[in-house]
């Protein structure tokens, strides 16, 4: 089969010399790229385009899709659960940034200063990152338990009133944030440490000789040097937390009373609970648009910041 088609191609090209030249001028490269092109077309590029189109269709698996214009977007945006999911997601993103964004910077700077045991502390804060997601949820399910959980034991130790954590609408989202921050903290701090270790020692040396104090060194050397890392981490954390889904899906099923219903959870429900793939596509499209604009703004901002430095 392969040999046959090759001779056909040879005949079409006239001579094997031309065939060899075609191979040399990029044909061979494309041949090496072919498997990747196939899987990327099928499972990356096609889904991206499909995801954009899906929101404008009424789609039930097994039936031919029909075009419905903006109907999906209208019904999605007038769904009170969607509005609630926007609020919950924004609150979650905000809470995660308060606890998971600035604190790791401080911790990273602090740990880098330690004269002894740095390796141990790095390992200790990174440890929770290694626990697989579902195992983490099993663990925290019992940590959160109002009767026997560790968190209420800790509150009791400080003579604070016990909480219901995942079971109360007021604290459920906060609890998920606490768990996510505990689990993701170490990787963020490690990332900052990599940035910190890239700062030339001579800068500190020179600043000290010139009489700059410790705070001044942190303010005028460490933080400016860390700024690019901090901006990209801000973007990455927002991108990741806006898409929060697995935690509420597994631990609270969106409850209690939809207090942990996030946007992506609503997308999942549209698709796999109500089988309204068109609406799922529309809401997914809106989220994607939001994240895309955010990334675009970041790139513009960082380009401006970059050109200012040059």
């Amino acid at each position: 089969m392969g040999g046959f088609s090759q001779t056909k191609v040879h005949a079409a090209l006239g001579s094997s010399y031309q065939w060899a030249r075609l191979m040399k001028n990029g044909g061979l490269g494309l041949l090496f790229l072919l498997p990747a092109l196939c899987v990327f077309a099928m499972f990356q590029w096609c889904p991206i385009v499909y995801g954009l189109v899906l929101g404008f269709q009424k789609m039930i698996p097994g039936l031919p899709p029909t075009w419905v214009g903006l109907a999906n977007f209208k019904s999605v945006l007038s769904d009170s659960l969607v509005i609630l999911s926007f609020k919950n997601t924004l609150l979650f993103v905000g809470l995660c940034l308060v606890f998971g964004y600035l604190v790791p910077v401080v911790v990273a700077i602090g740990i880098m200063e330690l004269r002894r045991g740095q390796g141990f502390f790095r390992l200790a804060i990174y440890m929770p990152n290694i626990i697989p997601g579902i195992a983490l949820y099993v663990m925290w399910l019992w940590m959160f338990d109002p009767a026997v959980g560790l968190l209420n034991q800790i509150l009791g130790f400080f003579h604070l009133p016990p909480q219901e954590w995942l079971l109360a609408p007021k604290t459920a989202l906060f609890s998920l944030m606490l768990m996510a921050t505990w689990a993701g903290f170490g990787a963020t701090a490690l990332f900052y440490m990599a940035g910190l270790s890239a700062i030339p020692e001579e800068l500190y040396e020179a600043a000290e000789i010139d009489g700059a104090g410790v705070w001044q060194r942190i303010r005028h050397i460490t933080l400016p040097a860390l700024r690019p890392t901090m901006t990209i981490m801000l973007l990455l954390q927002i991108l990741a937390t806006v898409q929060v889904f697995q935690e509420p899906f597994v631990m609270t099923a969106g409850g209690p009373n939809n207090a942990t219903l996030t946007v992506m959870y609503q997308v999942y429900r549209y698709a796999f609970v109500y089988f309204e793939f068109g609406k799922a596509g529309a809401l997914g499209f809106l989220t994607f648009l939001f994240l895309f604009i955010l990334s675009f703004l970041y790139m513009r901002y960082s380009r401006i910041a970059h050109s200012e430095e040059v």
Binding site: I134, A135, W142, Q153, V214, A271
Partner: protein
């Protein structure tokens, strides 16, 4: 990082009283943080060793009267670890057989071969790193439900996991970055000696790229072991569940197991990643600083 002789605070600073107090503050914070991170792990481990009665005991105690190691055996059986671990390994074997050849060949093409519109092609691959993962989930599901051109339903088969996994721009990026460091002279010499491109890739470039291949191998194994959402959506049949799907179903769906057994199962599912992490720390952290950019 090990070779650093100084950071913000110099040894001279430490002789000053204010700085010394600040430094002690750093140490105290670090210790408190380490306890905050490690103590829950110890607490959970002790929970796995308790009897159900001890778990529900009030006031709670950290240590059980005696360590019930048998809980781990019970969990091993209750979660059908042998079967579901095997499934996880089948998923990983597919990754090694599909993703590695596909991405290695693509990276080789980008590094060493002539390509029409090379920059544009590379951009088309890398753009997929920017698209949030959730945006793929539903279209990919529908595509697998009815594969274009072939019109077959791949849901509930391992292909639904293997095929999308092959489209990994991050692996291509990592491999291309490493391949680019291979001395061009060796490649040119091999070409002059008449070696084929496949030969150069398999005999010269890949053997020189063992560190990055090892990193990818480990990261992919950890990834497959931890992966939950996508396998859960496409592998609904319990005969194809992975460990994580089983853990989810047995703990959060059908609440029949006692907490000590749940925690023992959780511990068993956590041991392989922790063991691999401790053994291959260097390779993994190399990848983390990179994958951090991926988000």
């Amino acid at each position: 990082m090990a070779g650093r002789s100084r950071t913000v605070i110099s040894n001279f600073d430490l002789k000053r009283r204010g700085v010394k107090i600040g430094y002690i503050g750093c140490v105290v914070t670090a210790v408190a943080l380490a306890i905050f991170m490690i103590y829950p792990l110890i607490w959970v481990f002790m929970g796995a060793l308790k009897t159900p009665k001890e778990v529900y005991e009030i006031p709670p105690r950290l240590l059980p009267d005696q360590a019930n190691w048998a809980n781990f055996v019970t969990a091993w059986r209750a979660f059908s670890f042998p079967r579901f671990t095997l499934n996880t390994f089948i998923l990983f074997a597919g990754i090694v057989l599909f993703k590695f050849p596909i991405t290695c060949m693509a990276a080789y093409a980008f590094s060493f071969l002539r390509l029409p519109a090379k920059r544009g092609l590379l951009l088309a691959f890398m753009v997929t790193l920017m698209v949030p993962g959730m945006a793929y989930m539903i279209p990919s599901y529908l595509i697998l439900h009815r594969l274009p051109l072939f019109h077959v339903n791949l849901l509930n088969t391992y292909w639904a996991f293997w095929l999308p996994a092959g489209a990994d721009a991050f692996a291509i990026l990592l491999l291309k970055g490493f391949f680019d460091g291979t001395p061009r002279g060796i490649i040119e010499a091999a070409r002059i000696d008449g070696a084929s491109e496949v030969g150069i890739l398999s005999q010269i470039v890949l053997p020189l790229s063992k560190p990055i291949l090892a990193t990818l191998f480990i990261l992919n194994f950890m990834g497959t072991w931890r992966d939950f959402l996508w396998p859960y959506i496409v592998l609904r049949d319990s005969s194809r569940w992975t460990i994580m799907i089983a853990l989810y179903n047995y703990v959060f769906q059908s609440r029949i197991l006692t907490p000590n057994i749940q925690l023992a199962g959780m511990m068993l599912a956590t041991i392989p990643p922790i063991a691999i992490f401790l053994a291959f720390q260097r390779y993994i952290l190399e990848g983390v600083t990179f994958s951090g950019l991926k988000g």
